[in-house]
Symmetry: C2
């Protein structure tokens, strides 16, 4: 026997498709919405429908934006001598909170042979093209947090996962190739975000790979 009205089952099904939401949570969310006034449900539904309507991809950094180039790429206050390579637009949200004031390049994923994603499926060629043309006037260089030189720098900020590390390694190698081919690019520094113990974490519970990386990355105090 059908216990639930169709519209309720349908929304439970739709919620269940979202990551981390199982059938129980999906039911709870749906029944929660049922207790809300029509205007709230309307507002939620419209927000979903409008999500992508005004969106496009920035043709410079490949972040999602309402207008290309995006607000970050257009901003004259941004330090154009430092570029952070990230996997997804969501990473930018997290990194912006650190006060990072350079540019970004969104890869759109990581190299993952198991999912059939190779370097050609990511925006790596676009990154390399951008680097080839990357020639900021020396006068405009600003110093960024933790930078040793005031030259150009590329920070590889893919996830510290197996795929993220492999992708960073691949891109690092490709940029090195470019550098060896073009003397103008020689001064570009390639860095990788530090792997170590998360702040507030507990050394005793850290896995051995993280601990090894934390030791390797130790600094003078």
């Amino acid at each position: 026997m059908k216990i639930l009205p169709d519209s309720v089952s349908k929304l439970i099904e739709e919620f269940s498709k979202l990551p981390g939401i199982g059938p129980k949570t999906a039911s709870r969310l749906t029944f929660y919405l049922l207790t809300k006034p029509d205007s709230d449900i309307e507002s939620f539904g419209q927000a979903v429908l409008n999500l992508k309507k005004a969106l496009t991809t920035c043709q410079s950094c490949f972040n999602i934006t309402e207008e290309s180039p995006c607000t970050i790429c257009r901003d004259p206050e941004r330090d154009k001598s430092i570029m952070m390579v990230v996997e997804e637009p969501l990473d930018i949200v997290a990194l912006e909170k650190t006060g990072f004031n350079g540019l970004y390049h969104v890869l759109g994923g990581v190299i993952s042979p198991i999912d059939g994603i190779g370097p050609e499926n990511l925006r790596i060629s676009q990154l390399l093209e951008k680097i080839k043309k990357w020639d900021p006037p020396a006068g405009e260089l600003k110093s960024a947090k933790g930078r040793s030189s005031s030259g150009r720098e590329i920070i590889l900020a893919t996830d510290p996962s197996l795929e993220g590390e492999a992708t960073a390694m691949y891109i690092g190698r490709e940029i090195s190739k470019l550098k060896s081919q073009n003397s103008k690019l020689k001064s570009i520094q390639i860095t990788r975000i530090a792997r170590g113990l998360p702040v507030g974490g507990d050394l005793e519970y850290a896995d051995e790979i993280t601990l090894t990386r934390a030791l390797e990355g130790r600094r003078e105090y």
Copy 2:
């Protein structure tokens, strides 16, 4: 500086309003949707908008339904001599899985003075009215799982929380009053769902109130 496009911030905000979804999860869900094709987003948005459009409340049991009386109340196969009093429509979904084949009555909440919800805000008077008229022909009585008699029975199935217990106690007293006023209702049995250790649970981690209830409710083996 605005990092996120308006439509993205808006959906994150809407997701954050849902119970158990914080700003981080809301961002993750929104960015997940961004990776999906337009048709999936359309389907989700429409499911939200259509949720309540075809819904009404069953005028007999107060469950949500597309048509009143609901499929459960209309079903001639249902045992009309047993009625389960629950807080919310979602409870019915869980109880149906146990194979319960009687009727329901949805209160629409619990007595909670702290939230300003008294008995008059729940569907208690409707329940009492229904009980007054509840006179199933003896021939139609069927025996239900775990019932001692084949008479009428009301199972108080509010949550085993402070408010749920208080509500069950209040309703139990009101039904007892009815029974003492009307000899026709005298045979109605009032029961409460068992409190005890959840199946698959661990005795060692159970709180003392649950353990006390489990001991009180013990049965001959």
